[in-house]
Each structure stands twice: as C-alpha cells, then as structure tokens.
C-alpha cells in the first residue's frame, strides 16, 4: 500500500445497541449504517454493498448473550459464515467481510476496530472490484443468497445443528457444514451460469472455461437448472448447443 493511496471504502452495519454515536470517533473512510440488530443484515444487502463499491464490510453486533434479540448476533454469525464461503467463490477475499461481536461497553473505542479493519482491508491490496468478473461473481452470489434454497438452510441451521431435526436427530456441525459447502458452491455456480447466459447464449464449454470447472459439471448444473426453470436451450451452433437464462421468480 502506498502511503498516498486512499484508504479502502468501508461500510459498517452496526447494531443499534453497540457503541453510541456521540462517543464514537469514526474514521472518514468508514460509513456507519445503523440497523436494529446485526442479525437484521440480510446477506443480500452485504453483497449489494460490495457490488456498489464497498471494499470492506464490517458488521458490528453485541457479543453472544448480550444480544437484544436473544441470538440475532448468532444468526449474523451464520450468515457471515455463508457469505465468506460465497466471497471465496467470487474471488473477493473473504477477509473483506468482518463480523465484530463486542460487548456494548467495550473499553476500546469504535475507531480502534475501524482502523484495525481498515488496515486489514488495505493490506489486501487494491480493490479487485474494478474487475468485471468479480462484479459478475458478486451478482451471482447475490442471486444465490436471494433464492429460497440457501436462505432456508440458513434459517434452519441453528435448529438443525443445535437442536433437533424432524427426525429428532441433531446434525453434527461438520456434516452440516460439508453439506452447506456443497450447496453454496452449487448455487453460486448455477447463478453464475444464469448470469452469464443472461447476457448472451453460451455453450457448456464456454461456461466451463469461464467458471474454471469441468464441462461435465457445468452440464450437470444445467440439467438441474432446467429442472428449476432457470435455463433453456436457445439454439445449436454447429455441434454446440447454446443455453440462455430464463427469468426466475
């Protein structure tokens, strides 16, 4: 980082109960948006924030057991976990997202954390957000977390891993994690394909090249996307079928 470079633009979503504005010293590269609870942060909004140019997003909530809404902070934790998985897939460093759960009466001032995070993000180097690809990836990730599948799992995670599923069993955290990894990846790829084929019809091979995965995997995703009404065959060029996205609800 060059000393004259601008510090990264950071948006901080802050729980209504953490830090008091009057007491906070806020670095100028950080913007604070108050929400009722850090659990209020719809993952979609976090991705939107990145899409719109934020180079770092910080979520600030109360430390466990201090949450005003019992476990809104823990819900946020789960969402951040999923978001980090998605960010890793998009090519944007997951470190650009940070969840800070603090005691509402931290001795340290907010500016301390803000600076710390600013530096962390700064170290990551120039924002890759200028790259078209990352933006496309973020858009795909956003659609993935807008859709039912990931959201319902996110909403049910606590119940399944900490209490009991419908059969009275508790799903081990690692098992659920592995399942979630697979689903997050699949959803991301599908929405990426959706995004890519919205622009213009594309072939399996082309998609595989862009996505950096095997064409057979792409084809399988396409079969699943057909089942869900996300994609359709547009035309055949030579021996190559081209697919185009269908509008999804």
């Amino acid at each position: 980082m060059s000393p004259d470079a601008h510090p990264p633009r950071i948006v901080c979503f802050m729980c209504n109960w953490a830090f008091c504005e009057e007491e906070m010293r806020i670095p100028y590269n950080v913007d604070i948006i108050r929400v009722m609870c850090v659990g209020r942060m719809d993952p979609v909004l976090v991705l939107e924030t990145f899409i719109n140019g934020a180079e770092g997003v910080m979520l600030v909530g109360c430390k466990p057991s201090d949450c005003h809404f019992v476990d809104g902070n823990l819900h946020a934790q789960r969402a951040v976990k999923m978001l980090k998985k998605l960010l890793a897939l998009t090519g944007l460093e997951p470190e650009r997202l940070k969840l800070l759960l603090i005691s509402p009466l931290e001795d340290r001032d907010f500016s301390h954390y803000a600076k710390e995070f600013t530096e962390e993000v700064w170290k990551l180097g120039n924002s890759p957000l200028s790259k078209e690809e990352i933006v496309a990836n973020l858009a795909a990730a956003k659609e993935a977390v807008s859709a039912f599948r990931l959201r319902v799992l996110l909403g049910r995670e606590e119940e399944l891993t900490e209490f009991m599923n419908a059969y009275g069993e508790k799903i081990p955290e690692e098992e659920f994690e592995a399942l979630l990894d697979g689903i997050v990846k699949a959803e991301f790829i599908r929405y990426k394909i959706h995004y890519l084929t919205r622009v213009k019809p594309r072939s399996v091979k082309e998609l595989a090249q862009i996505l950096g995965i095997r064409p057979s995997a792409v084809l399988r995703h396409i079969t699943n996307m057909r089942r869900k009404g996300m994609i359709t065959l547009d035309k055949v060029e030579g021996y190559t079928p081209l697919y185009k996205a269908l509008e999804v609800r």
């Binding site: 990931l150 399944l160 079969t223 057909r226 055949v236």
Partner: protein, 1010 residues
C-alpha cells in the same frame, strides 16, 4: 376354511407387465393388490423415450395405463413395499407385505409438488439414471402413479421445509414401516429386470469415462423430458456428438461373467436408439453398432433393421469390442475391436453407448425365498416350455422379464396370460370381492335452465400464489347461469367433494364447473362426485388454470388472473350447453369362438373353459394340433408329442369346448359381446353360433422353398423334413449343410422367421447326438438364438457345429454337379470361397402366414401386415387385441413363434377375452357419435373415415343412413367433423359447445384489449 378360494390376486411388480395383468384381472371381476418396490408404478418402460418398432413415445402409451391402474376401483396400489412371505395354497394364500415408510401420508398428499420445489437438498436422480439430481422429497417422474411424494430418508436432513409448506399437512416424519397381511387366491410375479451393472465390464470404462453411457441412460438422454431435454449431448462437455457407437452384448452372451444368455431386446433397442438419436440431433450423426448377431427376430423387426441401415445409414459392424479407452483431452473414446477381416482396429468416437443386458432385480432371491419359488441358474424364475407362465409353486404365476429376458409386447402378452392362469385358479370367486357402487337416481335436468356452480381451486399456493382466485370467483359469479361460485384450498380434497355435493343440493345446481388442474387426471374424480349427487356425470366440466396457467405464467400474476377468467368463462359457456349422456351398454353372450385348433387355439380354449366359459373351437384340418404335430423333440428336452396328446385329450374331454374338425368359419356378424357366426361343418352344412368374442389362432405354415434345388434334389430338405427324418430314425448323413433364412429376410419377405435358428441348432445338436462325428455346417446371416437359447448355440458350437456367416451379396450356392450335391459359400475368416459336398442340405425355411388369413381378415374386418400376418391393435401394448373390440389373436397367426410363446399368447388372448365374457353387459364410454338421421345424406364419408368400423349404413324408411355402433365408437369425433351435412354429433364435444367456447374465450379478451 382353508379350501375356500379368495377372489383376489397379488401382483408383484408394477411395471408394464404387472399393470397389464392387474388391469385384465380387475376388468374381469377380481380384486387386485399390486405391490411395487418403487414409490410409483411404471417400471423400466416409464424411463424409455420411444419404443420399437413403431417409435411410439413410451410415456404417451404407458401413461393411460398408469392412470387406469391408479384409478381402477378394483386395484389397490401398494407401492414402496415388498413381499415378506407367502403362506397357504393355490386359491387361498396369505401374503405378508411390508409397506416402507414414505414419510408422506398417501391419503393426504395430493401431489401438488410444492415440497419438491422448496426442498433445499438434492439427491441423485435415479429415475434419470444419475444424469441429474432431484430433490430429496420427490416423485420419480411427473406422470407418476400414484402421484404421491416420498422422502428419501437417506438424504433428508429433516429441515421440515416440506412439512411447513405442505398445505395438505401430508408430511409425517415419524411414519413407520408397516406390515400388512392380505388374503389372495393367486399370485402373479412381474418384478421385471434391472440393467446389467456396466461397471463390471471394466474394459469398457463405464463410470471412468464420462462419455460412456448405458443404454438406459441414453434413453433418458433421448427423452424430451429427460435431463438434456431430448438433445443428445456428451456428458463430458455438453457437445452434440458427431459419431457415436453402440456396443452390444454388454453383460449378455458373456462367458467371462457367466451370463451366457442373450438379453433378447438389446439389438432392437440399440437400433431404435440409433434411429431416434439421429432424429433428435439437429446435425449429422454417425451411428455405428458393434454387434455379434443382430437379433431382430420379432414381428416387423427386420424391416426396422433394414430401415436403420438403408434409410438412416446406421453402420453395423460385426465384432465384439475388446476395450474402450479415452482421450483425456477431448473426452473422445477409442473403440478397440477386431474387424471382420480379423485385424485389430481402433476407431474414435464421441460417445459410446453400452447396450446393457437384462438381469433379475437385486432382491430377487429374497422374493423367491419369501414366496417359495425356484430360480434358474441365472436367478431368473424357473419355468418350462409348456408351462411358461407357471412357477414351481402352484398358484404363483410369472410374466415379463423375470422368467427370461424379453421385450415389451412379449411381457404384456405374458402378463395377460398369467392373468388368465390366475383367473382360472379362482374362477368361481369372480366378482365376489369387487365393490359395486350404488348411485342415487339421476335427476332429470332437461327442463331446467342451466344452474351452474363454479368451484375454483387454490391448489395450496400452486394456483392461489399467482392467480388471484377470489377475483376469479367474483368474476365467475357474474357469468350467465352461474348461480354459485366459491374458492377451495384444494378442490380435490375429500371434504370439498362433500361440499360440492352439498352445494349441488343447496343451490339446485345442474351443471358443475371446477377450475383447477388438468382434466386428464382429475375429471373422473369430479364426475364421480356429481354422479353421487344425482347428476349425470357429463354435466361436469373443468377449466385447467394450473398446469396451463398459473404454473406457466409465474411472473405475470395479472395476465394469469385474466387468463384464468377467460378459461373459466369459456368452460362456463360450454357447461351451459352440456347435455346428459348415457353410457351405452351391450349385453354379452359369454361364449367364445376360436378359429384354429393348434396349440394356441387349444390352449386358449382350455383357459376359457377353465374359467367356465363355453367355447366353439373350429379347426380346418381333421385333426387338432396344427404345427405342433410336426415337432418331435425340443431343445430343452421335453417331449412335444406327449404334451400334444395331453392337450388334445383335455380339449376333447372338456364339456364346455365344442370342437369342430374339418370345419371353417364362413361368416361373422355383429360386434363385441354379440357376434353371430356361421361354421361350415365337415359335412358341408352350416351351423350358426352366437358368441361374445372371437379368437384368431389360425397359425402359420412352413415356406416351400423354391431355391437351393429344393424339390429338385431329394437331398435338399427343410428343417421340418429333417426332423421328421430323424424322428423316424432315417437319418444317417455324415455331412450336413444347413442354410438359414430361406424365404425370409429377403426382398419378398423382409422379416425374420424367428424360430429357424432355434430349429437349426436343435437339429444340429440332435445330429451331433446321433453321430458326434457328423459334420454340420450352419450358414447363417445372424444366429438369432435369443434368450436362454443362446446356451444351446454355444453348446452346438462347442460340439463342433460350424457356424459360418454369409451376407446377402454372397449367398451360398447349391448345385448338383453330376449327382454330386455341392455347396459353395464364402468363408469370411479365410476370405475365400469354399466348396463342400454334403450328404444333406437342410433349408431353414421361413414360417409364413396362413394363406387363409386374408379371407379371415376380411370376414372379421381386421387388418393384416404387409407380410400377411394379422396386425394387432398396438404392437407394443396390445399384442393380442385387435382394434376391433371383442376380436383377439394369438400364436403364429400373429407372427412366427416358439411353442412357449404361443402358449403365453393363447393364455393372454383368453384373459383379454375374459375381460369381456365375464361381464353381463359392457358399459361403453358415453362420449360417442350420434347421427341425426334427418340430416344424413347417406354419403358414407363417415363410414369410410371411422378407424374403428363403428359406423354402418342402414336402411331406414327407404333411405340409407349412417348408424353408429355405440359399442365400437371411441368418440374421436373424426366422423362429425367430416360430415358434410353436419348430421353427426359427438357427445360432450358438440360443434355448438366448441363454438361457444371459442366465442366466449375471445369475447372478453377483446373487451380487455380495449
């Protein structure tokens, strides 16, 4: 008590065979329990794209059968279940069945599918053979019967999403497996087969190479509803292949694997897949089939094979593929094989399809143990030539691929045959366990103004989530003659049926309209409901605002709502004009006429007589037995003549069977249930008989060769003649040449005569048995020893019988050079012509249609194939029916076949006939054509057009007018549309009704547009 028979049958397996058996039994007055391992019925056929040799869409022809089985009042589907044990004896069994939990309450689930749509977890889609995924709560395919979802417990994470979204509260996570015990009189086994596990042929690289797929996977690839949408794609990269290969006999005819049998259907399905692939690919596609023998032995199969070669340019290479390797860079495959010139070759393909053979289903040993039946060494069900439908346990019958690998029509024929066997076992109990429903007397609404009630379904949120249902209800109330309209969460639910009946009473409704899903599945339910409320069932109509509205316009709630209104308006317009229709009934004479006294005719006669029906059996010859009389020994070792004697004795002694020898049927009149026929007896006098059905069992004859010096040289014989000779002990030749396909597979008769290869192998083995040193040459085009016969082919080859292939271009030449019989033929391995001097030349002469067929066909108004065999109603699913109701066929009249196949078909014809004979009166479909005789000009256009011969011309008051034989009319409406004077009215789809619909559907649209 133990001897009391039970009028119910257990059918194990819900594939096409099981369904056919169940329908035949249920239609003839028996209660049927159908147990299937899968969550829905349909078996393998439900996975197929098209069927050979007609290229019919498999699902299109199967789905109506699925629905019929699902809705039949006498059939109980017990899916997702297995048989645990069987106690008791024929006529009175007790079966124990385990119903595995599906975690969905079948009574509550209405198949709306919201659960699957919302399920967040995916599992491998086994129905699509792993080519894609499905949700964890699923139905196998959209047309599944019963349309009840199931949770894949293995993969389910128990997230409760399905339970929460299910508006019918059908999800029960705590559902347990349950055991039920049923009393049945007979059992039919139709568990089908499963494809060979191609991984075991590791040299073909299945699962290692993405572009190596099995044939059943390829069926799914070809299917329009499959994962690739019906376009052939390479799984590795989604490209359309340019060059594909089919490798035959994967898992069949394979000594290494111990699967010595031939799977019988693979050659044909590969040809079909190749043809369909070419049709489904928009680009040029080269198809190559690597085969050992093309076994296109069935009816019209060779013609199909020929079309594949000539019309579609499919390349056939006779070679067993040694191995397949992959180019990892392109995913292309190298097929290593030895060419016909014995040189090793490698050829590159984009995709390879392994034609996997059939093997018995996985759990078959368990099933056999539970039922106490024997399996053969390949774990197929053990049967014998003369009792092809019977297992080792009395009262337990078998059909379909479980007894030996076979294709669909044979499975279906066997299924009906097994049904006949079961019927005979419990014939006295017919009708005792089936429910007869009582309806209130029908209200006369002819003098009433239409009073329409409209019921609009939310279908949970399937409709209501998009279409604003309350708005549509309000709109419906404004339509003329609508006196009542309401919305329902599920109009199909039981409580809504009750509501509809109440509202009919309360508002004195005389027409009912339901706007919900598709009439194809739900119309019968609602018709039943209005009937229960005293209305004629045809006073009901349905608007489809789900499948064709809310589900396909999910992003346009406004437009979808408007469309729903239009559809309701249109259906209401039609409903105003609806008229009650009567289902016509015809009385049935419970007597059968069987033409032909061969093994088929006799078997059919006995089967019917065993069920208590009177039979007239007419044989042209002076003796019963037909073709069987000429058969003296069998491949499998049984004594055919002994069986013949037994059969003849049984027939002659049966009091219900009237045998007419040296007689001929000369005239047949009437229609199903009411035929009047004339039999010209031996003495020349004519006898008239009344009967309800006709079974054609006229058999076939042996071709008298004109080629190969037959008839010119006494040393040239046919196989039958050879057999005769051997039987008489007159055989002493040392060197025998057999020439296959004489009079078959040529220009004149393009089709295979099916049985000659078996005959040749049988006789060759017999020769070797008599004289192991005798030399036998078999000159063949393809050795078509399908099924378990393959073993005998191997045996013969092992014993030194030389099988030498010849092609059409290089037919063997038989000459008599100065009294020396010479046979010259091209030896493909040595690549030279060879001449030998045999003692005998035996011609495998084709089996050709009975020359009498033409006369009989005209008499019965049934069609013949180009070859001159009788043409059944549907090549695939109605192998023993004619399109004309009440007329059936079996045996070689249908096409050449072996004795066991003829017996199975004969039983099948008997079962099909019993579905009619068992009824006092037949109730026909109410939607039939009617002739306004005042308007009819007698032009006969309708008579000419009717595909069912349901229109006849009658004289009425000095005028020739058309008359509809209601019993034959199927209600297609072709006649009415063509009638120049519009004298023919098709019930329920009258011109007025349709025009009213057209006007109503457009009128308001216009208003909306302004």
């Amino acid at each position: 008590m133990a001897n009391e028979k039970v009028g119910a049958v257990l059918v194990v397996g819900g594939g096409v065979a099981g369904i056919q058996a169940a329908l035949d039994l249920a239609d003839s007055g028996f209660k049927v329990y159908m147990v299937d391992d899968s969550p829905s019925i349909g078996g393998v056929m439900a996975q197929l794209d098209k069927t050979f040799p007609t290229n019919d869409c498999s699902m299109c022809i199967l789905a109506p059968k699925l629905v019929a089985a699902g809705r039949h009042p006498n059939i109980s589907l017990i899916t997702n279940s297995e048989v645990l044990g069987l106690n008791g004896d024929a006529g009175n069994f007790e079966v124990k069945i385990r119903k595995r939990s599906r975690y969905i309450n079948e009574d509550k689930c209405n198949g709306c599918g919201l659960c699957a749509q919302k399920c967040p977890v995916e599992a491998i889609d086994t129905y699509n053979k792993g080519l894609t995924d499905r949700s964890v709560v699923y139905v196998e395919f959209p047309q599944a019967v019963p349309l009840r979802f199931k949770i894949d417990r293995e993969k389910c994470i128990g997230c409760r999403t399905c339970q929460e979204v299910c508006k019918a509260n059908a999800v029960e996570y705590d559902q347990k497996d349950s055991e039920i015990t049923l009393k049945v009189g007979a059992v039919i086994l139709a568990p089908g087969f499963e494809p060979f596990d191609a991984r075991l042929k590791s040299e073909y690289g299945y699962e290692r190479y993405a572009n190596v797929v099995t044939s059943i996977e390829f069926e799914r690839i070809l299917s329009a509803s499959g994962p690739y949408g019906g376009i052939v794609l390479r799984p590795s990269d989604g490209e359309i292949p340019r060059k594909i290969a089919f490798v035959q006999c994967v898992g069949s005819r394979d000594a290494q694997l111990g699967n010595l049998y031939c799977s019988a259907a693979c050659c044909m399905y590969s040809i079909k897949e190749a043809i369909i692939a070419k049709e489904h690919v928009p680009t040029k596609l080269d198809c190559t089939i690597f085969y050992m023998d093309i076994r296109a032995y069935g009816k019209e199969f060779d013609a199909y094979y020929k079309r594949a070669q000539e019309e579609y340019g499919i390349r056939f290479v006779r070679s067993r593929v040694a191995s397949i390797t992959e180019d990892p860079a392109t995913g292309n495959l190298f097929v290593h094989y030895v060419g016909e010139d014995e040189t090793p070759r490698v050829e590159e393909f984009d995709m390879v399809i392994l034609s996997t053979g059939m093997q018995p289903p996985k759990n078959v040993e368990k099933l056999a143990k539970a039922l106490g039946i024997k399996l053969n060494k390949y774990r197929f069900c053990e049967t014998s030539t003369f009792t092809p439908l019977e297992t080792s346990k009395s009262g337990v019958y078998v059909c379909g691929a479980f007894s030996s690998p076979k294709d669909i029509p044979e499975s279906v024929a066997q299924a009906s045959g097994a049904a006949a066997k079961a019927m005979a076992t419990i014939a006295p109990e017919r009708g005792k366990l089936v429910a007869v429903k009582e309806y209130p007397p029908e209200r006369d609404v002819s003098q009433e103004e239409p009073r329409i009630g409209v019921f609009i379904c939310h279908c949970g949120i399937n409709i209501g989530g998009i279409v604003r249902v309350p708005e549509v209800v309000e709109y419906a109330k404004t339509l003329p003659n609508v006196v009542y309209a309401e919305e329902n969460l599920y109009t199909c639910s039981d409580d809504t049926q009750k509501r509809i009946r109440e509202k009919i009473k309360e508002y004195n409704l005389n027409r009912v309209v339901v706007a919900s899903c598709t009439p194809r599945t739900h119309e019968p339910l609602f018709r039943e409901t209005v009937r229960e409320a005293g209305l004629n069932p045809y006073l009901f109509e349905m608007a489809n605002i789900r499948d064709q509205c809310s589900w396909v316009h999910m992003h346009e709630p406004d437009e979808a709502t408007e469309k729903a209104k239009d559809l309701v308006r249109s259906i209401v317009a039609k409903a105003r004009l609806l008229k009650p229709l009567k289902n016509p009934t015809v009385n049935v004479t419970p007597v059968a006429l069987i033409i032909g006294g061969g093994v088929s005719g006799m078997t059919a006669a006995l089967e019917l007589a065993n069920q208590g029906f009177e039979v007239h059996l007419v044989e042209r010859e002076k003796e019963l037995g037909g073709h069987l009389r000429k058969i003296h020994y069998m491949l499998e070792g049984e004594d055919p003549q002994e069986h013949l004697q037994r059969l003849v004795k049984a027939v002659m002694e049966n009091k219900l069977i009237h045998v007419y020898l040296g007689a001929e049927v000369v005239d047949v009149n009437g229609f199903v249930g009411n035929f009047k026929s004339k039999i010209r007896l031996n003495g020349g006098e004519e006898k008239q008989v009344e009967h309800g059905v006709v079974i054609v069992a006229t058999g076939a004859v042996e071709y008298k060769p004109k080629e190969y010096l037959y008839g010119l040289d006494p040393r040239v014989l046919t196989q039958h003649e050879l057999e005769e000779k051997i039987a008489k002990g007159e055989f002493n030749a040392k060197k025998v040449v057999m020439i296959q396909c004489v009079g078959a597979r040529n220009e004149e008769r393009p089709n295979c005569a099916r049985i000659c290869c078996g005959q040749a192998i049988k006789n060759a083995l017999k020769i070797k048995e008599l004289n192991p040193d005798a030399e036998v040459f078999v000159l063949y085009k393809d050795v078509r020893s399908y099924g378990f016969m393959e073993e005998y082919y191997r045996e013969a080859a092992g014993k030194g019988v030389l099988f030498i292939n010849y092609s059409d271009g290089m037919k063997p030449k038989v000459s008599n050079e100065n009294g020396r019989l010479k046979v010259a033929f091209y030896e493909p391995v040595l690549k030279q012509e060879i001449q030998i001097e045999p003692d005998l030349v035996v011609l495998s002469a084709a089996t050709i249609p009975n020359p009498d067929n033409k006369r009989i066909a005209e008499m019965l108004k049934v069609p013949l194939t180009k070859d001159g065999f009788f043409l059944e109603a549907h090549m695939k699913l109605r192998p023993v029916d004619f399109q004309t109701d009440g007329v059936f066929l079996c045996g070689m009249a249908h096409s050449p076949k072996f004795i066991d196949e003829s017996i199975a078909q004969a039983c099948a014809a008997a079962a099909r006939a019993a579905t009619i004979l068992s009824k006092k009166a037949l109730e026909m479909e109410g939607i039939v054509a009617n002739v306004d005789e005042d308007l009819c000009s007698g032009c006969r256009i309708c008579e000419f057009l009717c595909p069912y011969g349901a229109i006849e011309m009658i004289e009425k008051e000095g005028k020739t007018v058309a008359h509809v034989i209601e019993a034959l009319c199927k209600g297609c409406g072709v006649c009415g549309t063509a009638c120049p004077t519009k004298a023919i009215i098709l019930g329920h789809f009258t011109t007025e009704e349709i025009l009213a619909q057209v006007r109503a559907i457009l009128r308001e649209m216009e208003v909306a547009a302004k």
